[in-house]
Amino acid sequence: MPVSPPDKTISFVIKPVLFLLCLLPLGVLVWAVFNDMLGANPAERLTRETGEWTLRFLLITLAVTPVRKLLRSPWLIKLRRMLGLYVFFYASIHMLTYIWFDQFFDVDEIIRDVIKRPFITVGFLAFILLIPLVLTSTNKMIRRLKKNWVKLHKLIYVIAVLAILHFFWLVKADYQELIVYGLILLLLLFYRLYQQRKKGVY
C-alpha cells in the first residue's frame, strides 16, 4: 500500500509545486498576449481558453476522490481545496475576459445578455453558485458547518452540469470536444452513484 508523504513534504513541496503548476495555463496565455500569439481573434481565444481551463479544473477537482481511492492515497484530499479554488480563479478570469473584451464593461448590455442568451445565463448561474463554495472553503467554516458543509458542497455537481450545458448551448455544429468533457463528467458522476449504492444509501 502506497504511503503518504510526510506532512511537511505536502505543505512545503507538493502544494507549492501544484500551486505554480495550476498557474501555468494563465502564464502561457499572458505570455501569448504580450507576444501577439493568439491568432486573428485574441479576445475570443482568451475567453475560450479560460473557459476550457475552468471546466478542466472542475473535472480535475471532481476526480480527486476517485483517484485517491484508486491509488489508495488518501492524502490527496489535502490538495482538493486548492484545485477547487482554482476553478473559481479561472472562472473569474474567464468572466472578466467576457466583461472586458466582449462587452467593455457595459453593465446594461451585460445584464441584457445574461437574461437573453441561454448559454450566458447558465454560465453566469454556474459562476454564482461557485461563490458560496469559495466562502465556505476555510477550515473554520468546514468545522462550523459540519454535515451541512458536505451538503452545501454537493453544489459542485450542479455547477458541473451547468458548465457542460453552457458549453453545449454554445456549440454550433461540432460536438466532438464537448462529448469528451461530457463523458468524463458522466464517469465521475457514475462513480459517486456506484459508491453510494455500495454504502447502501439506495
Partner: protein, 316 residues
C-alpha cells in the same frame, strides 16, 4: 484541444499588409501552389491562375482599412476543411482545386458544364473591397478579385420560372476531408432569391489580395454577398442551379430558428448565441471597442429596396 499553438504566420494584428509584403507572399504562394501540383514553373500554372496586380476597382469599394492578409487566410469558417478557426488553413494543402468544373442547371436556356477557365473567361476581373460580417459577431474587410454574379447568371439566360439561384459546394471527402465527419449535411448548399442575385453587389470571387483564392477561403471560386452573414457566401462552388422553389440552404435546414434563409446583416435581430448589435473587426487590437453593426452591413443604399414591405424580423 491544445492551449496555444503558434505558427510563424501570426503577425502584429494592427497593420494593413503593405503591397510589397503581399507581393512577396504571392511569390511564395505561387511556389506552394505549383509544388502542390507537382509543377515546377510559373509557365505551367493553369492559365486562370494568372496574378492580377492592378485591377480596376469596383464602384462599391469600401473605404475601411483592409484586414491583414494573414488574418483573412488563417481565421476561417470552412467546415469542409475542419471546424476549428485555424483548421482550414492547416488543412489547406489537402485540398487541390485542380481540375475544376462547374455545372449550370435548372430553369435557364443555356445550361452546361464548364471547366473553370472557360467559365470565368468572359468576364473582366475587378477588385472588390467588401466588408464581410460573420454571424458569430466578427467582421473583416477583404479585397476580393472577381466578377459580377449578375453578369455571369445572365449568360445562362434564366427563364421566367427561375425564382431562386442555388449554389452547391464540391462533395468529395478525399479532397475536403472535413466531409468525412457529418457535422453538417454535406454538400453545403446556399441560395439567393433571383432579384438578390441580380443585384450588382454580389460577386463570384476567384481571388483575394490580387492573388488566386487560397484553399481555406474557398478556392477556386466562391460567392461573396456582402450584405448577408458570411455563411451565405458559399465556397468552392461546383454547381449553380436556377430553381422555382427556395433552395434548402444548409445552415437554414440545420437550425431554422437560428439561421434564416435571408440572413441579412441586421443589428436589430439577435441570434440566440450572439448579439448582433456590434462586431469585432478582425485585425484591430482586441482591447479597442467593437464596431457598431450596420443594417445590411452598410449596403442598405444598394439593397434595402429588395426587401421593401417585408418584415425583416420574421424573414431574418
Amino acid at each position: 484541444m491544445s492551449i496555444i499553438i503558434k505558427t510563424s504566420s501570426d503577425i502584429k494584428a494592427s497593420e494593413i499588409t503593405p503591397k510589397s509584403v503581399y507581393m512577396d507572399r504571392r511569390r511564395f504562394m505561387k511556389q506552394a501552389f505549383a509544388s502542390s501540383l507537382l509543377l515546377a514553373t510559373d509557365a505551367m500554372l493553369p492559365a486562370w491562375a494568372k496574378r492580377w496586380p492592378d485591377l480596376e476597382a469596383s464602384q462599391f469599394n469600401a473605404s475601411d482599412k483592409l484586414t491583414p492578409f494573414e488574418n483573412v487566410t488563417s481565421y476561417n469558417n470552412f467546415y469542409e476543411l475542419g471546424t476549428g478557426k485555424k483548421d482550414p488553413a492547416s488543412n489547406a494543402s489537402m485540398f487541390n482545386p485542380e481540375p475544376w468544373s462547374i455545372a449550370v442547371e435548372g430553369e435557364c436556356n443555356k445550361p452546361g458544364v464548364f471547366n473553370l477557365e472557360d467559365f470565368i473567361k468572359p468576364y473582366a476581373l475587378q477588385e472588390y473591397i467588401y466588408r464581410l460580417r460573420c454571424v458569430e459577431g466578427w467582421s473583416m474587410v477583404i479585397p476580393w478579385v472577381g466578377f459580377s454574379l449578375a453578369d455571369m447568371l445572365k449568360q445562362f439566360e434564366p427563364n421566367s420560372n427561375a425564382k431562386y439561384v442555388e449554389f452547391t459546394t464540391l462533395l468529395d471527402k478525399s479532397r475536403l476531408p472535413g466531409q468525412a465527419r457529418r457535422v453538417l449535411n454535406w454538400p453545403y448548399v446556399e441560395g439567393l432569391r433571383i432579384d438578390e442575385a441580380m443585384n450588382p453587389l454580389p460577386i463570384m470571387a476567384v481571388g483575394l489580395y490580387g492573388d488566386i483564392l487560397p484553399s481555406q477561403n474557398g478556392a477556386p471560386i466562391r460567392l461573396v454577398v456582402p450584405w448577408k452573414y458570411g455563411f451565405k457566401s458559399i465556397k468552392s462552388i461546383v454547381k449553380i442551379r436556377f430553381t422555382e422553389t427556395q433552395p434548402k440552404a444548409t445552415w437554414n435546414e440545420r437550425a431554422p430558428e437560428e439561421y434564416g434563409f435571408y440572413s441579412n446583416v441586421n443589428p436589430e435581430v439577435d441570434h440566440p448565441r450572439w448579439s448582433q448589435k456590434t462586431e469585432r473587426r478582425i485585425g484591430e487590437p482586441f482591447w479597442k471597442p467593437k464596431h457598431k453593426t450596420q443594417m445590411f452591413n452598410g449596403y442598405g443604399e444598394q439593397v434595402a429596396h429588395l426587401y421593401a414591405g417585408m418584415d425583416l424580423v420574421k424573414y431574418f
